[in-house]
């Protein structure tokens, strides 16, 4: 029987408080070493006092529907599960870093201890036993929702259908499967902030 599930994540930025609990939980769950991140929160501030705001943007691998890393991996170490999670075979990865160079989201990294490429896999080991990813479990504002977008009765499907959602860099044609509600344009734009940093 074919598995018709398609796992996805939705992050409601109206509920995000920028506490970095997701980043910490991710590191603890997956034992990622110091200096590399599979899940992180970018924080920006904009405006002039008193009209100011702070925007949070939790980022991770988007587990795209059409991942360019999968197209470009020369040894098929990157592969996609039937439920849509993009995986890396740690025994097959040769560490050519081409996937890192071609990912538009900078979601991948070389594990400095184990010497192969890693990224967010929606905590597939937890998902397989019926749990939700560690970042979803620990989110204090319950801003993260994880579930099957092919099931119309799931919370994530209902939230996507009743809210304006967005993804990061839709122009890349990768069809990301991490959705955002209340995504700030300035937080999602790396160039704009980068130019400001240069001045």
């Amino acid at each position: 029987m074919k598995n018709n599930k398609r796992y996805a994540m939705l992050i409601d930025l109206r509920k995000c408080v920028g506490c970095h609990t997701c980043s910490v939980a991710c590191k603890a769950e997956n034992s990622f070493p110091v200096g590399v991140f599979a899940s992180w929160v970018k924080i920006i501030e904009k405006g002039k006092f008193p009209h100011v705001s702070r925007s949070f943007l939790p980022l991770s691998c988007n587990n795209c529907e059409k991942p360019i890393c999968l197209t470009n991996c020369p040894v098929k170490a990157t592969w996609k599960r039937e439920d849509g999670i993009v995986m890396i075979d740690q025994h097959r990865c040769i560490g050519c870093k081409y996937c890192i160079a071609s990912c538009p989201y900078d979601a991948r990294f070389v594990n400095p201890l184990k010497k192969y490429v890693q990224k967010c896999t929606f905590c597939h080991h937890r998902v397989d036993v019926g749990l939700v990813p560690a970042c979803v479990e620990t989110c204090i504002g319950r801003a993260r929702i994880f579930g099957d977008i092919n099931d119309p009765n799931s919370l994530i499907s209902q939230t996507i259908s009743t809210n304006p959602v967005n993804v990061i860099k839709p122009e890349m044609g990768t069809e990301p499967r991490v959705f955002y509600v209340g995504l700030d344009l300035d937080a999602a734009d790396p160039i704009k902030v980068w130019k400001v940093l240069e001045d």
Partner: protein, 304 residues
């Protein structure tokens, strides 16, 4: 609008100088092989010395090049995975087979040329030209298919790589041929040396023509980048006014293209061996600067 980043994770550059050097060496190999094969297929006896130089340079530089790829791997002992787990959509996979077939062809070709087996050399030259072009063209595809990087993901990249490969390949052939001419042939046979010198000067003119083609392609690339999307615009700014202006405008364009072009086509310097050697040296440096610029500037625009 005031925007400030309060927190973000560090931003890494995954591909570095090893990859740039690898691109440089395959470029030299492809360029010198094509020059060698063209002179041999042309059939004139006096061209043969140039053909031999190119036939040695091509396999030698291509035997060194994969070493750089290997040490750049995080798991060098797993390189054999490339031969058994094939992902045909990845340029690295077809590159693996090109990188295996092309040096083999090159070594056989050099052997045939030195053993005076005219017919075999010609056949291997004909099979080698597309192999050489593909071997360097695929490295352009590696960058062109990296769709996250604004500088790389352009259809111009493979062509740009092949043209700059011709430029650097011819430059190295001129360098070695001039060295050979000045120190060896001249002492043995003055008449033959004169003939060879004429050939080298012609090669210099040909190099000038490829530099013009290279400059034209770079102009196309920069103009389109400047008027394209935001990321593309900023990467062009980085090249023209940012941290890469010295490497790109100073070394690649001015020292590596415009000065040699002037030296080669200016009658006073273009008709001397010394002028051509000087131009070729500058071209070699300029093309290496081009590889560095493409690899580093392409990855210098932040993605998150």
């Amino acid at each position: 609008m005031d925007i400030q980043v309060i927190y973000n994770t560090p931003y890494y550059i995954p591909l570095g100088i090893f990859i740039a050097t690898y691109f440089y060496l395959t470029g030299i190999s492809a360029g010198s092989f094509v020059i060698s094969a063209v002179t041999v297929l042309g059939g004139k006896k006096e061209y043969k010395s140039i053909g031999k130089i190119g036939s040695i340079l091509a396999p030698v530089s291509l035997l060194i090049a994969p070493i750089f790829l290997l040490i750049d791997l995080e798991q060098p002992m797993r390189f054999w995975h490339l031969y058994i787990y094939l992902q045909m959509t990845s340029p690295i996979t077809y590159g693996t087979f090109l990188l295996s077939a092309y040096p083999l062809n090159g070594v056989l070709y050099a052997w045939a040329l030195f053993a005076n087996k005219e017919k075999t050399a010609k056949i291997l030259g004909i099979t080698g030209i597309p192999l050489a072009i593909c071997t360097h063209g695929y490295t352009g595809f590696i960058l062109a298919l990296g769709k996250g990087r604004p500088l790389w993901s352009t259809a111009l990249m493979p062509t740009l790589f092949i043209v700059s490969a011709m430029v650097s390949g011819i430059a190295l052939v001129i360098l070695i041929a001039s060295f050979n001419n000045f120190f060896f042939t001249k002492r043995k046979d003055v008449e033959k040396a004169e003939q060879e010198k004429k050939l080298i000067l012609n090669l210099g003119k040909f190099m000038g023509a490829t530099i013009v083609a290279d400059l034209f392609l770079i102009l196309n690339d920069i103009l389109v980048l400047l008027t394209s999307k935001t990321e593309e615009y900023h990467v062009a700014q980085l090249l023209l006014f940012g941290e890469f202006k010295f490497l790109f405008l100073g070394i690649e364009i001015f020292l590596g293209s415009i000065v040699p072009l002037f030296v080669v086509f200016f009658p006073k310097t273009g008709q001397t061996l010394r002028g051509n050697v000087f131009a070729s040296l500058l071209v070699m440096i300029g093309v290496f600067a081009m590889r560095l610029t493409v690899v580093y500037a392409g990855q210098s625009v932040p993605l998150h």
